[in-house]
Amino acid sequence: MTTKYYFVSTLAVLLLFGCAQPPSERQAVTVKGSDTMVLLGQRWAEIYMKDHPNATIQVTGGGSGTGIAALINGSTQICQASRPMKAEEKASVKQQRNADAVEIPVALDALAVYLNKQNPLQHLSMEQVGRIFRGEVKNWKEIGGPDATIVLYGRENSSGTYVFFKEHVLANADFAQNYQGLPGTAAVTNAVAKDVNGIGYGGIGYATEIKTIGISKDATGEPVAPSMENVYSNAYPLSRQLFWYTAGTPTGAAKDLVDWVLGPDGQKIVSDVGYYPLKNSKQTP
């Protein structure tokens, strides 16, 4: 009999403890999605948690598609995406979560084209980049480079960057057969850094160990570097917004985090990581 009482009292104690700690005390927010943004998200979380000891922010990558899927089935509160949500994805959020998908631009990015540092080319046109990745141009000498086969690197098809690049550069055509999809932008920069004949693409925030090139809108146009001014003036052809998505207007801990990210502290981190802060943010570049 004593064991039974012991069991009941333990249960009671556990219950009491459970009630005594209101869930609002620790503010946990999950952020999931774009691999392009995972560095940025983690830096935000780090600094935010330092300033707000009560908050717990969990940031994971996986790709924009993964994040959007997680937002739809409710396993994340905030989804990071390097591409805008498609209409059917928004519909799924509305249907599954019973709330509208709220789009919050949090930073700007220049989707850069990476070349190995030894590659003599300094700029390409949009059309040339498209033809390279569609497999129509196979040798560097066809576009004024050395006589060597072009090796294509990029992201896997779960990536928002992949989809953005496919839409804007390839005009929705398929990538070449020998296009190599790598897990993560860091893997792409690493591959291009080690391959003299490599070409890749990815967020400007990852552009280390390789060189980024100027892109012209057409064959005769002036090449435009992926710099902050050119992104602000929309002169760089592959300028894009980086988004956060929530199901319904964010409240509580998530709202505090969103406000902070959009504020001067959050936007300063954007430029620290290598992306460009929002144009209308108070932080002056």
Partner: protein, 327 residues
């Protein structure tokens, strides 16, 4: 010799069950024996049913390809032209032939590298190495099995890939050969350990007979011990093959993941396992792409099961040919 004693132990069968008074304690012990036996059977059945249920679940997710053909994709579309894998596209193309070809290409390369290395290493440790060295070599090679595949993948990506490219002058830094080398690092310990066990299990009178007939140590090892251990070696190779064909992280990192329909080993390659790993996280639940990925999983499962089954058959046949009776 020590080995003979073991063989004799195995052959030793007690003539009759010792007679003991059927006391209460003994009865209790029999009951406990019975209970323990059933309990073990129960757990064994759980393990078997888990494997079976995994297969059922994976196949069930792929099943609508036959019954509903979502988005116009049926079971035949993974095999119809064009031989292209482009799942995210205006017109998605889900041809699995390049993926199957790629999987076998990489696995074969890995086997070609790993088998001779592991076999010779095992032969050396089992037949030639002094005991003190053997005690040192075996655990070291087995330690290789404990390295997480992501670490092997990283090592190959950073170190081996550039080296292979410069030695062979490949156009592509990430290719089937590099991936095969990475995979071979993962399966060498598997093949080595089982082969080594098979070699040491060869009865010692085989060695003695061979040496007594005037064969050299090397002749004995190559012509007597190796054939006698061949069922075990076959099992080792099949296990290695199974491990290689399903390995994901190494190939995902170093194969370049381009689905190309070619036998050329010097170009990037995309495998079934890496495709599932890369794409399953993103796909919309219940879509045609989702079904196809589960179909790939079913395919992978069937390939490994069929291989294991065939290997087991060969193993039994060899064993009965060598030793007269099925083991």
């Amino acid at each position: 010799m020590k080995r003979e004693a073991i063989v004799r132990d195995n052959l030793y069968v007690p003539a009759k069950r010792p007679r003991v008074n059927a006391s209460n304690g003994l009865k209790w012990r029999r009951v406990m024996d019975r209970v323990a036996e059933k309990l073990i059977l129960f757990f064994a059945l759980i393990a078997i049913s888990i494997i079976f249920l995994i297969f059922v679940y994976i196949a069930r997710e792929a099943f609508p390809l036959i019954t509903q053909s979502p988005e116009g994709i049926s079971l035949s579309s993974p095999f119809t032209a064009p031989f292209v894998w482009q799942p995210v596209s205006g017109v998605p193309k889900y041809n699995v032939v390049p993926l199957i070809l790629g999987t076998f290409k990489v696995t074969l390369i890995a086997m070609l590298i790993a088998t001779p290395l592991a076999l010779l290493a095992a032969l050396y440790t089992a037949e030639f190495a002094p005991p003190s060295l053997r005690e040192w070599i075996k655990p070291t090679i087995e330690l290789l099995a404990g390295i997480p595949s992501v670490v092997i993948g990283f090592f190959v990506l950073i170190v081996i890939a550039s080296w292979v490219q410069s030695v062979f002058g490949f156009e592509f830094r990430l290719n089937a050969v590099t991936a095969g080398i990475g995979l071979s690092l993962a399966i060498i310990p598997v093949i080595y350990t089982i082969t080594e066990d098979a070699l040491t299990a060869v009865p010692n009178h085989y060695r003695e007979a061979s040496l007594a007939l005037g064969a050299s140590k090397a002749q004995t090892a190559m012509r007597v011990i190796l054939p006698a251990a061949s069922p075990g070696i076959g099992a080792a190779m099949i296990l290695g093959f199974g491990r290689a064909i399903g390995e994901t992280m190494i190939v995902l990192m170093v194969s370049g993941n381009a689905a190309m329909l070619t036998l050329d080993p010097a170009v990037p390659v995309r495998t079934l396992a890496a495709t599932i790993a890369a794409e399953l996280g993103e796909v919309v639940f219940g879509s045609g792409h989702y079904r196809i990925l589960f179909f790939l999983g079913t395919l992978l499962f069937l390939i490994t099961s069929a291989l294991n089954w065939a290997g087991d058959r060969v193993n039994r046949r060899l064993r009965s040919r060598l030793f007269g009776s099925p083991a």
